[in-house]
Symmetry: C2
Subunit: 319 residues, 2 copies
């Protein structure tokens, strides 16, 4: 295995001074609805608004001084872009990000605010790869992948370490699955607990490549995602796939209506602003599709970067 | 003085097992905007969704066993209704609440869910008082005023004790002012700190009875509030007026536009869902009307009970 629990523990020591120890919240309304105690690890309050700051900070901290002097680059339309720009800013090294021209303006602005150099490209995968390759050649910077990177995965796992530390032993932990960095990091982090909590990955039915990849044993890399959970539109990565395949309890898929209902529940009843990707990990608890009665449940609430107006327009049609 | 700091300390011991110790959050976006360190005591995560649970729990816990057996009653359109119903539910005693027919359906449902008996009345003050008087005569229950009650005031002050305990010494603390229970409790709680933080009360310009009462030295009891901050439409109470008059640093008034802007900032940037009354205490920091540069600032974020749809509709016109 290219990345193990020890790497998550080492990442924790490395990034603890760079990131926030986010609160673990409980909600009476949620506990009553689900019928058990649920602990929410709120990465929506993390630096840059999502867990991605953990992986990016660990990856940058792991670079040699030679690598660091060359700077870093990546491609991302969202949270990883901000996270890497933030990590590079902390280390005072250059950061270059390829972003699609369609990226949300607020995310572009936030990435730029950390001093990153932004290169825009067309929306296709091919355009994105071409732009990133060219950027790498021109700058000599080090590529930091959003999820297919052992140091990034180890960093993401630190959220789960903190959750277990604060909530105590858990029977089951739910986390969303897009590229799989958060879920695989969570799996590795939880392996130290005895008895080991069951880990449930959660994904939109409209981007269910992880379920299908696990069912066939072959990683699906080409598909057209149809979901409002913009953070989960990416195909499952290679390293995450290996980890998840061997150790995940199951993948729960949820409908777009259930994602919106979970989002609304979080905003109105739990009083936290979360993004649609986070709602994907709450939805299986709220719609009752996973049985957790009498169990102690953890949820990694992955982030809170959301265009409120856009989501509200969607919600008006459904609630 | 009918209520003192010792009463707040006693209230803390009394209610700590009934209520939540809510998180104190910090936000990079807020700190950057204000130019200093701001600590948010998030009562939006409190039982029943607001600080009112503190005062109601303390008042009910202070009743004699004879009084308790008679049950409690009050009048409230919102957070105090839910809070008293919750406190009565914990003590398994009857609770009766007079609510205006125009009360938000969600608040009526929440109050009823705690087992309270609800009596509806017309919207006028006279109708409310008449209905409450009749209810008291019929039931023999004990009246628990939303703010003009020493035990309620002492309970509300416990939020500030927890804030100081967690954030450490603060130079200034902002809290919203409606009936004045929260602000006067905050003043009493902070008096033990050396040096004593300055306390700033915050109210909407459209319900500025506290500023005007302090200016003339005479408590204004009749006025027509014009503000979306529904929790702050009540006139300042008698006991709070005495405490606030002697010890508040100043009252900051804010416009409706600034309340909405602060609400939006909290939702979108801090990622917490707060109600308009809470935004009133953030607004003077965000619009720069109080000078807190280089100071350690606390804010009592009073609650999170808000009709999201209604506020979104308002916001669409302004942001």
């Amino acid at each position: 295995m290219t990345v193990q629990r020890e790497d998550v523990l080492a990442a924790r020591d490395r990034v603890s001074s760079m990131i926030d120890r986010t609160p673990v919240l409980q909600s009476d309304a949620l506990d009553r609805h689900v019928g058990t105690a649920v602990f929410l690890k709120c990465e929506s309050f993390q630096k840059t608004g999502s867990f991605k700051a953990r992986g990016a900070c660990n990856a940058v901290a792991c670079l040699s001084s030679d690598e660091r002097s060359r700077g870093v680059y990546t491609h991302s339309s969202g949270n990883h872009a901000q996270a890497l720009a933030f990590a590079a800013h902390l280390h005072r090294i250059p950061c270059h990000v390829v972003m699609p021209r369609s990226a949300v303006q607020a995310k572009v602005a936030a990435t730029r605010a950390y001093g990153a150099n932004i290169v825009f490209c067309d929306d296709s995968d091919a355009a994105r790869r071409a732009a990133a390759d060219q950027l790498g050649e021109e700058t000599g910077a080090v590529f930091v992948h959003p999820h297919d990177d052992p140091n990034v995965i180890a960093g993401q796992g630190t959220a789960c370490l903190e959750l277990l530390d604060e909530a105590g032993p858990l029977d089951v932990i739910l986390a969303p699955i897009g590229g799989g960095g958060l879920l695989s990091g969570t799996i590795l982090a939880a392996q130290g607990d005895e008895p080991c909590p069951r880990i449930i990955g959660c994904e939109p039915a409209g981007a269910d490549d992880a379920s299908r990849s696990l069912a066939t044993g072959e990683r699906i890399v080409e598909f057209t995602p149809r979901t409002i959970a913009d953070g989960l539109r990416t195909p499952l990565g290679d390293i995450p796939f290996t980890i998840i395949r061997s150790s995940v309890d199951r993948i729960a898929t949820v409908s777009e209506d259930d994602i919106l209902a979970a989002l609304w529940f979080a905003w109105e009843r739990i009083k936290i602003v979360i993004e649609p990707s986070s709602a994907v990990a709450l939805a299986p608890l709220l719609n009752g599709s996973v049985d957790v009665k009498g169990q102690r449940v953890g949820v990694i609430v992955s982030g809170g970067n959301v265009d409120l107006t856009a989501v509200f327009t969607l919600l008006e049609g459904t609630v």
